[in-house]
Symmetry: D3
Subunit: 301 residues, 6 copies
């Protein structure tokens, strides 16, 4: 047990741990309240077992009455700077979260996505507190809301802070679905007219970029359930069909049909361009079908 | 009237917004004063329309009498740390900018480059305030000046702060021309003996690296007007001729002749090594010729 | 005399500068105390020649009685945030360094590695103070220690801070040998079950990743003396044999035999898969053999 | 239009300045909204004339939709520390202000008191932004609310921050009326069982103290409209009657009848103890009657 | 119960409160460990009942293994500035506390003094965390230690921070006994050659000053158990005998015999100079004798 | 050689310490450059002997090329807040110091005053770095300059910061001569129409206040060379003649003739009102005449 541990109330840490409810939630409860209850139980358990972290956990999670306030607090303290105060950002996040409940349902969907798909994500609180991809995406959703409200200078300033702090650069105009897993996330760039569907998984260093000086609709459209490996570069107003997989390190300049795998630089479709090898699941979403893994698994990380 | 005062002259806020001058500047004015006037007009307009951002805009732009002081203030607050105080950095930037006017003319050239070449850059103030690539390059120019003055420990400490804050790692000894656009910028690495010409455009994740343990002149030389796509890796003391284009994700180990396109891993010259496909513009500079776009545009972002 | 006092003994500043000992150390002294003496001599020389940096050098190096305390101080001030205070982190690093002396011997080995292998690393203090790769690795070693002590929430919180501040994302469970050079380092990702041997050199943007949703042992094993070029992506529970070289930008999905070079996307072994071209040195360690440089040197940076 | 937006309505900056309404408010408007409109007009005028202060004024006043939010923001940034974050305090102040509207009506009364009674207080915004006495009292009102809600540890922590930052030490249990002017304020100490009526004026260094180790009701009770000069020390459970005046530097250990002046160390009643010199106004409230000024005015500051 | 309260483990907050041990300690335990156990129990109870304060309590108390480390952490975060880092101060306090155990026994004596003598001090943790007088005195003890070690510049810099942060200005050379209660504390000034005995109680605004330009031993000597009321000014190398009492607001320029009361400006001895009214207790220490209270009690606060 | 460089010229540290010149300066040098040379020599000596303070000394003194820049840096870091950035204040102080050289000659006079008159002030650097009275007065001089330039909102904001940080509250309109010693300083209040002559010495808790609601010229006028003891309260538009002395704790409501001593509450003139005891020196200035010390010395501190 770490130095400084304080065992009080006679309740053992393992007993507390035992109370963390098991996954998935009972049907009788809303997903948001269930996830928030999980997060608080995890944070309590961790604060009890690790006093050195308790201050952080109380400030960021346990002193807050809702997931929205906890996240607003955490993002405000992460993204603030000497010229953009935490209190200002906190206000901004609180207002956006309370005026747009869909932002919080997206938060919940992204938390579930990380827990489902990332084997290194053992708890919801780990994702909420520590995943720079998760945090960057939630902050992007706020900057996107501001963009749609024609508050563009503020949206761009927020993008800039996200890019500095998390090294994730998503244009405020980009539209992103729910259930996104942005794993590791460092170096991700998503351009102004990019669209990302639901239940997509993207690794770090992924670029959804444009082509030179073209103005207008010039960035990729990513379908539902797509899986994009580390370092993949997808350029231009092309379409990656639902359930497609893009191998790590690929450079993709052409449309990829649904449920098809593209790999290489420049990327080619597995099975040949004319007769792509189709599969029937949504790899970005379920990720639990393994029948085709021989074909593509080495290309994702 | 206090120093630094901005004279409204009885002009209404909406009139100020209307006055944001259109591009390009009239011939009768210096580029620097014209760009600075633009930036202030933009910032006034944005402060009026978005009170939540007004504090930031006044602190960073509107309270300053010149572009040099505004940028010095902004960089100092971005790059400071608990052991390298903002006041110290502010002093340093002010001294360098005032002793080396060419630093500010490079600032202006880089602002114009972003505005010309990046379709997502709608205003000068957006670039000045929010582009980590732009800010990293200006801070590099200062660290390079210090390097040439034999103040190497300070130059290296500044490089380290730039690498931490912007995830852009440019050796202080590297020589960089004017009119550089470093778009998105995260992950860019430029080695000690690299040279970059004028009017170059580089995307994120670009590496201008060396080859192993060799000492001495071991990094690439990038000609004027070169365009380097996202994630390109250019290694060794090789020459990328003026107006050449390097495709996204390429790994370049050989010289690339002027006005030639190189793509792939390892990169090959389009049109074959012996008879490269030449074009006659400078893609990094003008970026507005599209006759050859079929050939290469998908490789840049 | 106060603790931590640095005794000049009537030696002039220029004499101190002259005393910066040449490399390598005399046999009669322990490597740690010799390196620490070097660092202090370098910092004294730099503080004398550059007053603008003296405050930083005194705070971070010259006021400390040992390398461990200097590094703990530096890391605490780099990694702290508004919710994870520098004093808390300082305490944590001090405790770990004093309870696990092997952490400090690894620090020394990594300092020597940078000095030996990186031609841009002219002094130990430059590496200690400015190399984000070096600092990220030392902080990782502490998070790994916490992980092995079953203090996982704290280990993960530390990983998160390292990923935010240095853009280096190493899972606390990953095991890393001594003498690692992580050059430039931005964007490096190392997964949970990865293992890195001794005397490895890795450039920036390198990924040691897993393959999708697989649980358990799913990340690469990197042998001693391996050299991995910039942007290389190595995926899955594969083995990179000792002394192997991985070219920049490669995507490696298969085992690489010892002393073999792999390049390309997907990577192929130089000399053909059946008859790989072997060499007899450890490129990540010594890096001073050049007989085979024609084959591979352009692929590293 | 974004929340918190300040609508200029096409009115020029100089016109805004001209519009700063004269005192007192028209009868048709609530005092709070009138005072808040004044404060915003003053802040606009000052931001326009002094760019160096504009950032502060926008952050603290002009970006907020209400007096309550502006004050919560300002107090949070004044009272925060490295272990008591501004975001936490901001939340706390916002919650208290919104759940207890009487706090804000007291704020308004105190602002009017300063404007009425202090010849150096030319604007409401000067008091709101710069008067440490005003700010300390508003923060005390919040700590008092917490005390009455049995949140005593938090109330005491807040008292401690007020005492550190403003050098004003008011026990959370002390009850304070509306319309208090605490001028200069440094060094004021108010004990646990003290009670202060409405429309009281107190200068700096005033002590409302207890007597030794006595427990229970042991501090002074100050009636409405009392005026207490600089450095006066009032000790024990005694009663200072309404409209009484206490001379600067007095040490008061006995009851003071209403509308009576006490001066000296130990204090004696002017006109003799048996036949005190009565006056008929409330000096702490109106302060505009001067018929008796010869008697006492030199004792206040 | 406050919003955001989290009741876990099924243990009620009042049950935790019940476990806070009652005063005084059992004989079998050292005072330090008993006081520290009390403080931790109080902090646990408060963290459980007030989540908004839990972060502060864990960071400052509950994550630390000893009273010395908790106090060092708290003082470092209180006294740090942008040019005197918290980590540096933390180091300094830790070193002094561990090398001079008498500092900690003085801490314990001062905590007991506050709890015994101040009716507003209901818990030890309240004093440790919130009493600026207590904190200023502990920091002074460290600056005094540095002074005796001939580390005068550091001692004076620490004095300066104490004077800024707590408005308590004690010269590092002043010698102060154990069991000091410095209540409220704002404005206290203690000169270079002043000496304060054991078990003294002093209120705010007390001055132990010199007389003009005299050099050498020129400040008061305060005997054991003396009680000094608010605002008292004691000047010159005079002796205040043990158990004497100085009334609030007094100006004392002459020796005061033991167990004698002095009041007024200039102070006179109660009972006449020739036949002072003696009492037989130590008022600053025990404060529980009340037989003579009619005489003097109104003069203290 | 870099700007701001301090040339050791091969002189050893102990030799530097030995070179700290003795007081007073040689006639051949300007007072400012002599004092600045002293301060730098002192700081060098202290940095060499106390590494824990060296960082502070280099940042605040040794990295600056002039007294003005050192003081601007120090004040900016002392007075900054989260909403009033250090860089902004640094700019402001630098501009005022460079546009009004008389500010710096007043700084020098005040430094000399502290060194001459305060026996606890052994070095100039101690005063420059640590005396809150000295620092508050220099910041006041800047706020006074702003006031005279009709930049009143900024002047008042600065006054507020001085009052928070140093607990010294001087209205920006108050006029203060040169050679002021404000010893200890906590709690000093100086009103809007007060005037303080040259070579005045004031202790802490001194009030130069007004009388109630009167508008216009309502505060004291303090002549040259006056000495005001701790806690003295001087109220109303009265005149304290040159060389007068005001005893500690006095409450002064009447004119005090030159070279006269006033003591008590209310203050009476020593020697009787009709025939005041005159003396022939300026006690606030020279403080070295002791012929009359029996009369008054106990009243000052």
């Amino acid at each position: 047990m770490p130095a400084g541990h304080v065992n009080h109330n006679g309740v053992t840490a393992s007993a507390v741990a035992a109370m963390v409810p098991t996954f998935p939630p009972p049907e009788s409860e809303s997903e948001e309240s269930w996830v928030w209850a999980q997060i608080k139980a995890e944070a309590h358990r961790d604060a009890d077992s690790e006093p050195a972290l308790a201050s952080f956990l109380y400030a960021t999670v346990l002193s807050h009455p809702s997931l929205a306030r906890s996240l607003a607090f955490h993002l405000a303290n992460k993204l603030c700077s000497s010229t953009l105060l935490s209190t200002l950002l906190y206000d901004l996040f609180l207002q956006c979260f309370s005026s747009s409940p869909s932002l919080i349902s997206a938060v919940v969907a992204d938390l579930l996505a990380a827990r489902h798909r990332d084997p290194a994500c053992a708890t919801f609180s780990h994702c909420l507190l520590n995943y720079k991809g998760f945090l960057a995406v939630q902050a992007h959703r706020v900057s996107h809301l501001l963009w749609t409200q024609n508050r563009r200078p503020l949206a761009l300033a927020l993008q800039s802070r996200i890019a500095d702090v998390f090294a994730v650069d998503i244009h405020p105009a980009a539209r992103i679905g729910k259930g996104l897993l942005l794993d590791h996330a460092t170096g991700v760039v998503v351009g102004e007219t990019a669209v990302i569907g639901n239940n997509v998984s993207m690794l770090h260093h992924v670029t959804l970029g444009g082509t030179g000086k073209a103005v207008g609709d010039r960035h990729p459209k990513i379908g539902d359930g797509v899986l994009i490996g580390a370092g993949a570069t997808i350029l231009g107003n092309i379409r990656i069909g639902e359930g497609a997989k893009i191998g790590a390190g690929s450079v993709v300049l052409i449309d990829v049909p649904p449920r098809t795998t593209a790999v290489g630089n420049p990327a080619r479709l597995l099975g040949g361009k004319d007769k792509p090898s189709r599969h029937n699941d949504l790899p970005g979403e379920s990720m639990d079908h393994t029948s085709f893994i021989q074909e593509w698994s080495d290309y994702i990380i």
